[in-house]
């Protein structure tokens, strides 16, 4: 088992390397740079910008710098948090300095943020939303599937499966605005946009306050996302259960 996990992890590393190399190369193959705009940019200024982001270096060197910033930890006596170009996700104070690890680099879109900042601020929200949507799809889908299987060909079966068809056919981009319109705009029960938690997050991913307000914001997005997968889970559960229920050992257990 552990050999299997290690092998999978190694393959993941290789895949990541290849994908990142391809993406990196493609970004530089497209004509036009990140600093092109309608207004004229003086050549000297462009040179400065390129030097700041190391865009004037050979491509292989840029890629090597990128990967080493992410993978290799380094020791530094400069206090973390001041420079935008040297911003690390993990800073462990050791003696007079810090061991710093994982710098994904600055971003072109903002001069005061780094890619790490974007991760720290937005990844937790996605994790929270995704986890809740998954839990919802499980909580709705599995019981529905079980009921449909056990009471096959009755009302519950038809009801469960029609709900499943609905969930699978209605795409999120249709369900979302409908929910927003009914509950947000017309009834004004739930807020149409926004999220109930903001950075800083507990352990980097959990919301700092969980109260009724948090769930008010979360309800519609979680339903919109969870309904589709719950439908699939329901059908899957029903089918698997039906298969197992007919097995001989079940009949024996009942007897």
């Amino acid at each position: 088992m552990s050999r299997y996990i290690i092998r999978r992890l190694l393959w993941m590393m290789v895949t990541l390397m290849v994908v990142s190399m391809i993406t990196f190369g493609l970004m530089h193959a497209v004509p036009g740079g990140p600093f092109d705009q309608e207004k004229p940019v003086p050549k000297e200024q462009l040179a400065n910008l390129n030097a700041r982001y190391h865009l004037n270096e050979p491509l292989a060197k840029q890629y090597a710098m990128y990967v080493s910033d992410i993978m290799l930890p380094r020791y530094s006596t400069v206090k973390p948090g001041t420079s935008v170009l040297e911003d690390y996700l993990f800073n462990i104070p050791v003696g007079k300095g810090w061991i710093e690890w994982m710098n994904f680099g600055p971003t072109y879109t903002s001069r005061s943020r780094t890619v790490n900042d974007i991760f720290k601020q937005q990844l937790p929200v996605s994790i929270q939303l995704g986890t809740m949507a998954f839990l919802l799809s499980f909580v709705i889908g599995v019981p529905l599937g079980i009921m449909a299987a056990l009471k096959q060909n009755t009302f519950w079966d038809y009801f469960g499966m029609s709900l499943a068809i609905f969930g699978v056919s209605v795409p999120v981009i249709v369900l979302g605005p409908i929910l927003v319109w009914i509950f947000g705009v017309a009834l004004k029960w739930l807020p149409p946009t926004g999220w109930g938690a903001k950075p800083p997050f507990v352990f980097g991913i959990l919301p700092s306050h969980v109260d009724a307000n948090y769930f008010k914001y979360a309800l519609m997005p979680v339903i919109a996302l969870g309904l589709g997968s719950s439908a699939i889970l329901a059908r899957l559960t029903r089918a698997s259960l039906l298969q197992v229920v007919r097995e001989d050992y079940i009949r024996t257990a009942r007897a």
Partner: protein
């Protein structure tokens, strides 16, 4: 298939939703402030008796239970889409950043809502006899402030302690402005709008391109904390306008570079917790990609042009136009703009929403430029025919739908010195298909060819909006002139390169221009004239040099009489769009916005709103 119980439940939900949506929103109450705020803390009679001599009047009022103080006035806005790119004045380049930079910091001069130059941080300025040196006299009572999360209020920033350990408030001085302008011009800062300052200020160009590193060669000097002397290259009419550009607003040097008692924050100085400003509003909290909260700066000394804000707080949420409008309808936003065309039809038809809708001019022009050296369009007759054959009003009515204005020329009426259709009714180009056909036929006869043999390409940057307009114009050119024009589109960054490439600029290309500062010079000279951003010296863009036009815009730049100046620009525009056309102007932008009836607001033509004039009822 649904059971009977389910159907009844569904009907009940639908009926309930219809009933609830018809309920009117409760009318906002105005809660009167009671003057006796001080007394609220003293309810025990014994305390008051000891002060009966000083506060005799209040004794009588203590019998009345102190009323609940009025809630704060919170204005909820959405100016997105997307996050504010930066709050650093030197780095701002788009309307979202500029909106808040203009509220948190004030330039030496400022633009009023109707685009007139008024005093900002400089209460007055003297102009030398040759028109080149401006001496600005600054106000000396504007402190730097920041939001203090511990006490939950805006506090004044303290300077470093002196020998006795005492600290004083940091005030905005001329040295701050000198530092900020030099910082914006420094090549290392890579400020996208420094080029406007380097066009105007003496010595700024060489400093900005790195040819010179000595800052004393730049024409900006702080004589003393209250006086700033700026030397310009030309005695231009718009000098006072340019020095008020957001790029030249003051930034806190001690916070960016650090000093004895302040830790250097570098480029992160604008973030929550560090941000320092001095304008009518200060930053309380900025949650990237989500929302931002700005609070009233109580230490902003109200000036006649920039009063103290009436609202206590502005809460901005970053949303795309569609969810922003959903929030507006849900009652969570007090106003919104950038409405989608599909929503506009519904708004105009709705009785409540149509009253809340206002369509105001926006200072931008949309045009189709010509590469005047490319085959076929190098002949002025072809260009004129193409321009005349576009039915601009039909485009606006059927494709654009936001009451835009058909553009007769390039600069946008409303800018300083730009001719308006009211004053110049015969200026520029208007839809005239018969005349267009006549001009083209002349050309075809001379070249002994027919319209369908002409090979023309129209290029635009990829967007569904531009696609619709291009298809409509392609149809107009086919119907009115018999031309078969090919449409090509490219992604924006690639398109920018193509349209500036001397070899590849297409015959007809779509472009727009949004003002940098509200003066016709920005459009006519800095974009269209030879060496301008759409007409580079190295070639590409219009590839156009017309001596008469160059003369006219140079003269108009330094002409101080407004009427004469507008006349000069009208003559220049006639050359630009008719005599030797470099472009076919299509429409002048407008901005549609909806505002709740309880908001007292002003409308600004400059592209950003001045929230210090707005008022909303207090929160309950």
């Amino acid at each position: 298939m649904l059971g009977k119980k389910m159907s009844i439940l569904l009907v009940a939900v639908l009926a309930l939703s219809m009933v609830l949506s018809a309920c009117a929103a409760p009318a906002p109450q105005t809660i009167e402030r009671v003057v006796t705020q001080v007394v609220e803390k003293q309810v025990e009679k014994t305390v008051i008796q000891t002060q009966v001599v000083e506060k005799k009047v209040e004794v009588m009022v203590t019998a009345v239970p102190s009323p609940k103080p009025a809630g704060p006035k919170i204005l909820r806005v959405a100016q997105g889409p997307g996050d504010i790119p930066t709050l650093d004045p030197g780095l701002g380049e788009d309307t979202h950043s500029i909106q808040w930079v203009n509220e948190m910091t004030i330039g030496l001069t400022r633009l009023s809502d109707d685009t007139k130059v008024v005093p900002g941080m400089a209460s007055s300025w003297d102009i030398s006899t040759d028109g080149l040196t401006y001496t600005f006299h600054l106000r000396d009572n504007v402190p730097w402030v920041k939001w203090d999360a511990n006490t939950n209020q805006v506090i004044k920033v303290q300077g470093c302690p002196d020998a006795d350990g005492k600290t004083a408030d940091r005030l905005v001085t001329a040295q701050d402005f000198e530092y900020s302008i030099l910082r914006a011009l420094k090549p290392e800062t890579a400020s996208p709008y420094a080029y406007v300052l380097s066009f105007a200020i003496a010595g700024a160009d060489d400093f900005n391109t790195g040819k010179v590193t000595d800052t004393t060669t730049v024409g900006v000097k702080a004589i003393d904390p209250k006086t700033l002397e700026v030397t310009f290259k030309e005695a231009a009419a718009y000098n006072a306008n340019i020095i008020g550009l957001w790029t030249a607003h003051a930034v806190p040097q001690w916070l960016i570079a650090g000093d004895d008692c302040t830790e250097a924050r570098g480029e992160r100085w604008i973030e929550t917790g560090f941000n320092q400003s001095y304008g009518p509003f200060a930053l309380k909290e900025w949650v990237h990609d989500a929302n931002a909260t700005f609070v009233k700066n109580p230490f902003w000394p109200a000036t006649p042009e920039i009063p103290s804000p009436k609202v206590d707080e502005i809460y901005e949420v970053f949303l795309d136009p569609s969810p922003a409008f959903a929030e507006y309808e849900a009652g969570n936003l007090d106003w919104t703009r950038d409405l989608l065309g599909s929503d506009l039809d519904r708004i105009k038809g709705d009785p409540t929403l149509s009253k809340e809708l206002k369509i105001a001019p926006s200072m931008s022009t949309y045009y189709y430029g010509f590469n005047t050296k490319a085959p076929l369009v190098d002949d002025a007759r072809v260009r004129r025919a193409l321009s005349l054959a576009i039915d601009r009003q039909a485009l606006i009515d059927n494709v654009l739908k936001a009451n835009q204005e058909p553009a007769g020329w390039f600069c946008r009426p409303g800018l300083a010195a730009c001719p308006t259709p009211k004053d110049y009714p015969d200026l520029g180009v208007k839809y005239d298909p018969a005349k267009a056909k006549q001009i083209l036929d002349e050309y075809l006869k001379e070249k002994n060819t027919t319209a369908d043999k002409l090979d023309l390409t129209l290029m635009f940057n990829t967007s569904s909006g531009h696609q619709k307009i291009a298809e409509a114009v392609q149809q107009m050119w086919k119907t009115n002139l018999g031309l078969d024009v090919k449409l090509v589109n490219q992604e924006w960054k690639v398109y920018l390169k193509t349209t500036k490439d001397p070899k590849n600029t297409p015959q007809i290309f779509r472009m727009g221009w949004n003002l940098d500062y509200p003066d016709a010079n920005n459009f006519d000279r800095e974009v269209a004239a030879f060496g301008g951003s759409q007409n580079p010296k190295e070639g590409g863009g219009f590839n156009w040099k017309n001596d008469k036009y160059e003369e006219l815009v140079k003269a108009a730049a330094v002409e101080l009489d407004p009427k004469k100046r507008t006349d000069l620009y009208s003559q220049a525009e006639q050359v630009l769009v008719w005599d030797d056309p470099a472009m076919a102007p299509i429409y002048w932008y407008t901005r549609a916005s909806v505002t709740k009836p309880y908001v007292q607001r002003t409308f600004s033509n400059t592209g950003d709103e001045h929230y210090e004039f707005w008022d909303v009822p207090a929160a309950k």
